[in-house]
């Protein structure tokens, strides 16, 4: 484990914690980009350059901006007077802690049997393109259809209802 791994891990976990815990919703969306950037750095560290840059483009470039727009459109930037956590926050915290305990126990128990290949994979964009157009062409088409349907659906759902059209 290198120093870089611990630094990026601390950055990512701190970003995620702040995104969940901060009171102001706009601040949450802004520190969420820190967590996304940390994950992109992880991808780059794992020699998955294409996935890392796709993460930066899609999450920091699009999803974070979309979240900020949604917060500003719904006036969620006003900090609520009462608590930002729901009434049954304790049950949610217990469920999350239980799932973390199970996941961490499973990872630590299976440490020896996990695969550990040291050879660095060399993946070029040409190989990724060939794979996308070769054996992954059907999922690619389905994702294209899904993105189109999601875009049209989001626009229709968020369309302004005109007076008297009900």
């Amino acid at each position: 484990m290198s120093i870089a791994f611990y630094l990026i891990a601390a950055l990512t976990v701190a970003g995620g914690l702040a995104a969940v815990l901060l009171k102001n919703t706009v601040h949450c969306a802004l520190v969420l980009t820190v967590a996304f950037a940390g994950l992109a750095l992880f991808f780059l560290q794992l020699d998955a350059q294409f996935a890392g840059f796709a993460q930066i483009l899609v999450y920091i470039g699009a999803v974070a901006i979309l979240v900020v727009f949604a917060i500003l459109l719904t006036r969620g930037s006003e900090t609520p007077k009462d608590s930002v956590f729901s009434k049954n926050w304790f049950a949610g915290l217990v469920i999350a802690a239980g799932i973390f305990a199970v996941l961490g126990w499973a990872v630590l128990q299976s440490g020896r049997v996990l695969p550990h290949e040291t050879a660095v994979p060399t993946v070029t964009v040409l190989q990724i393109g060939n794979a996308l157009m070769g054996c992954y062409v059907l999922p690619l088409e389905i994702v294209a259809l899904l993105l189109t349907a999601a875009m049209i659906g989001a626009v229709i759902v968020a369309l302004h209802e005109k007076e008297g059209t009900k």
Binding site: M1, A9, T12, G16, L17, A19, V20, T25, A29, L32, A35, F36, L39, F42, L46, F50, A51, Q55, V58, Y59, V63, V67, A70, I71, L73, T74, R75, V84, F85, S86, W89, A91, G92, L93, I95, A96, F100, L103, G104, V107, L114, P115, H116, E117, P121, V123, I128, L132, Y136, V143, L146, L147, A150, M151, G153, A154, V157, A158, H160, E161
Partner: protein
């Protein structure tokens, strides 16, 4: 600790943080942020297994992660559109106060 278990532990921490956020926050947009964190933690697992598993040249894990990113983008767009639509209808994004389906 092998590098792979380190990545898996970080992903588990992120997943739990996202789950706690999705289960405890009142604002619907913050719940969506928690779901995004959980999806990203799953992506980190996929990429880590791709890197340290056998046959990385088959690109299976990386393709899975790329398709997962695309589906997550579609999910975010539709989810935020729904939140905006509900806000226009009920004038709130507080999930504790959204307790009727008919509005």
């Amino acid at each position: 600790m092998t590098p792979l278990s380190g990545y898996l532990l970080v992903a588990a921490i992120l997943f739990s943080i996202g789950l706690a956020g999705a289960l405890t926050r009142r604002n619907a947009i913050l719940v969506l942020i928690g779901i995004e964190l959980m999806l990203n933690a799953a992506n980190l697992n996929l990429i880590a297994f791709w890197r340290y598993g056998p046959h990385p040249e088959a690109l299976t894990g990386m393709m899975f992660a790329i398709f997962s990113i695309a589906v997550a983008a579609a999910e975010a767009a539709v989810g935020l559109g729904l939140v905006i639509s509900i806000h226009r209808h009920a004038h709130t994004t507080d999930l504790d106060r959204m307790n009727r389906m008919k509005g």
